[in-house]
């Protein structure tokens, strides 16, 4: 498979990469605001994005390069189970429709930059807000690392950076260059860079999928043949166990449904989702987006079909790395120049989320650890400076992760990340609707959920891996296999509920709530000019005086 460098494909790839780099640096000037030093500018793009920019940004953010590689790879490896990503990304939008407009409104009113800012304001609890912030940061870092894995897969198939014989520096040089460039323009342009690049990324992805879904079945003899061949491949047994199946068996259905549900609940609480949502300019922008974002889910479904095509086309062999299946399919099927376009789509598809994720993690650190715990009187300009530096640190951390550890470690942590993020649901989503939960009860529920989820995930083993081999386990009392994250979530919310009753009965002090009911439904002010600072005196608990 590694038959030297594919010159034409590499040329096309480099062309798009350079174009995107220029765009990334120019983005600093796009919609420049009056006060570029405020964290709202670098970290939230000035809270100014309208419906379409938000659509591209969120699409570019949530449907990552890793998704493009991993979802078809899961289908390629085992069949139907991997398709849960489709129902998952369908049911996430009705959920988003219910709670994110409320988060947007309250954040807009009080100048919150992160979900932890909201937790602190709502529950008056720094320990809870720090817990949520740390959860977000540790869940995001391996996710950034996986974006690099996505780029690596493409570079491998193109014949650069691959090859086990070359020394490590030359081998990783292309990845280092890609990452250096990404870090530089994120540092200088902030969220505006990925927002602008997302247009290119999504356009490329849509073109590639549209062509692939027509051209490849045409070359392989139609979907009938593809599914017949794939079905035959899944039926082949190793050690008496078939490779996979075309439909979920009765035993796999609980896992399928709980994975879809749990992932759907977690998706929009990832820091990078919150960052993109808060950068939009109005409450209605988000609601409208829940009705147009499903277009990406359709694309994801079509993309998943490529997993069957790779199988039918005979990509791979014994002990093949499934993550390479899709890039390899493109190389085998497409003419070189179009394979280059497809590789660019995946590569750029990694850059956009990696940038947003590092910005989101940096915002969390700056707002909820640096400002809340270390330097409470930090000015907005100082916060921006810290955030920019942290965005670099986070990316370097992810790079070290990918270069020094086995890829499965990053995948394990990403799997854990989903379980962890799910444990912030009671505090964030609960807090958006009710003040009933007690802050200490939420903290206890969070701790138990995190502990249980991590422990159970650690216990999963397979013939290949002794730990973290999967994300499903027996659900206590139900006796079916289901998503560990969702079981942990139920445990979490049960504890929060019981402890709230107990703590309220004991009259434990509830924290101060700086929000009022109407904050959760407020719309943007009609005056579009200038950064949206609430008039002085309207928000008594505002964390800092408005203005730089």
């Amino acid at each position: 498979m590694k038959d030297g460098v594919n010159g034409v494909a590499l040329g096309v790839f480099i062309f798009f990469f350079l174009a995107v780099t220029v765009l990334g640096f120019l983005a600093a000037r796009w919609r420049r605001a009056a006060d570029p030093l405020h964290l709202d500018e670098w970290g939230l793009g000035g809270r100014s994005f309208g419906t379409w920019v938000t659509w591209f940004l969120l699409g570019g953010d949530l449907y990552t390069a890793y998704t493009f590689v991993a979802v078809p790879a899961a289908i390629y490896s085992a069949g139907a189970g991997g398709f849960f990503a489709v129902p998952y990304t369908i049911i996430t939008y009705p959920l988003v429709f219910l709670f994110l407009p409320r988060l947007w409104s309250v954040s807009h009113k009080h100048g919150y930059v992160t979900s932890s800012d909201f937790i602190r304001g709502r529950f008056g609890s720094k320990s809870l807000s720090v817990a949520v912030a740390i959860t977000g940061i540790i869940a995001t870092m391996p996710y950034i690392a996986l974006q690099l894995v996505g780029i690596q897969a493409v570079l491998d198939v193109m014949g650069v950076g691959g090859g086990d014989s070359t020394n490590w520096f030359l081998k990783d040089l292309p990845l280092l260059i890609a990452f250096g460039v990404l870090a530089a323009y994120t540092y200088s342009s902030g969220l505006r860079a990925p927002a602008l690049i997302a247009f290119v990324k999504d356009a490329l992805i849509y073109i590639v999928i549209a062509v692939a879904i027509i051209y490849i079945p045409y070359k392989l003899g139609g979907f009938d043949d593809i599914f017949n061949k794939a079905g035959a491949e899944y039926a082949k047994k190793t050690n008496g166990v078939p490779r996979g199946s075309l439909v979920t068996g009765p035993k796999a259905q609980w896992a399928y449904a709980t994975l879809a549900m749990g992932s759907a609940m977690a998706l929009f609480l990832y820091p990078h989702s919150v960052t993109a949502v808060l950068s939009s300019k109005s409450r209605d922008t988000i609601r409208r987006n829940t009705t147009i974002l499903p277009l990406y889910s359709l694309m994801l479904g079509l993309l998943a079909m490529l997993g069957f095509m790779a199988l039918a086309a005979g990509v791979g062999g014994k002990g093949y790395n499934a993550q390479l299946a899709i890039p390899q399919l493109f190389e085998n099927m497409f003419p070189s120049w179009f394979a280059g376009v497809a590789f660019a789509a995946i590569g750029i598809g990694a850059l956009v989320p990696a940038a947003i994720m590092s910005i989101a993690a940096a915002n969390l650190f700056t707002r909820n650890i640096y400002k809340d715990l270390i330097k409470p009187d930090a000015t907005p300009a100082q916060q921006t400076a810290v955030s920019k530096i942290v965005s670099l640190v986070v990316k370097v951390g992810a790079l070290v992760f990918v270069l020094t550890m086995d890829k499965t470690v990053a995948i394990n942590f990403q799997l854990l990340g989903g379980i962890w993020i799910l444990q912030t649901v009671p505090a964030i989503v609960g807090g958006l609707f009710t003040r009933w939960f007690h802050r200490w009860a939420l903290l206890a529920g969070w701790a138990v959920g995190m502990g249980y989820g991590t422990w159970k995930a650690y216990e999963q083993s397979s013939p290949k891996q002794s730990h973290f081999a999967g994300n499903s386990d027996m659900i206590p009392w139900i006796g079916e296999k289901g998503y560990i994250g969702l079981t942990a979530f139920v445990l979490n919310i049960g504890i929060a509920f019981v402890l709230t009753l107990v703590l309220n009965a004991l009259k434990a002090p509830a924290g101060e709530d700086e929000t009022v009911l109407s904050d959760y439904t407020t719309e943007a002010e009609p005056t579009p000019a200038g950064p949206a600072d609430p008039a002085p005196g309207t928000a008594p608990g505002l964390p800092e005086p408005a203005g730089a």
């Binding site: 139907a80 398709f83 489709v86 129902p87 369908i90 049911i91 939008y93 009705p94 429709f97 219910l98 139609g222 979907f223 009938d224 043949d225 593809i226 599914f227 075309l246 439909v247 979920t248 068996g249 009765p250 259905q253 399928y256 449904a257 879809a260 549900m261 209605d284 609601r287 409208r288 829940t290 009705t291 147009i292 499903p294 277009l295 889910s297 359709l298 479904g301 079509l302 998943a304 079909m305 009022v516 009911l517 109407s518 309207t538």
Partner: protein
């Protein structure tokens, strides 16, 4: 406090909101009930039922969410006294 909430608070549960809620609920019922679609036939242009059925839910769910949005938005405007049209 600035803007005091309008005095007689409008009811939280209204027929419009119930309808919107049902629109949002439908995809959950359909897609989490895996047994209802876990089969190969009828196939569509060679794609087994399991796959095309779930993909068909994408536009259906999007339309339902849009319906919920339109319903809620209409009610919000009515509550503001029809100031914004």
């Amino acid at each position: 406090m600035p803007e005091a909430p309008p005095d007689p608070r409008p009811p939280v549960i209204t027929p419009t909101r119930v309808l919107a809620g049902l629109c949002l609920l439908a995809p959950f019922v359909a897609l989490l009930w895996v047994n209802s679609y876990s089969r190969l036939t009828p196939a569509f242009i060679g794609i087994p039922f399991f796959y095309w059925y779930q993909m068909a839910w994408v536009p259906v769910a999007a339309t339902l969410t849009y319906t919920a949005y339109a319903l809620v938005r209409r009610e919000e405007r009515a509550r503001k006294g029809g100031g914004v049209k």
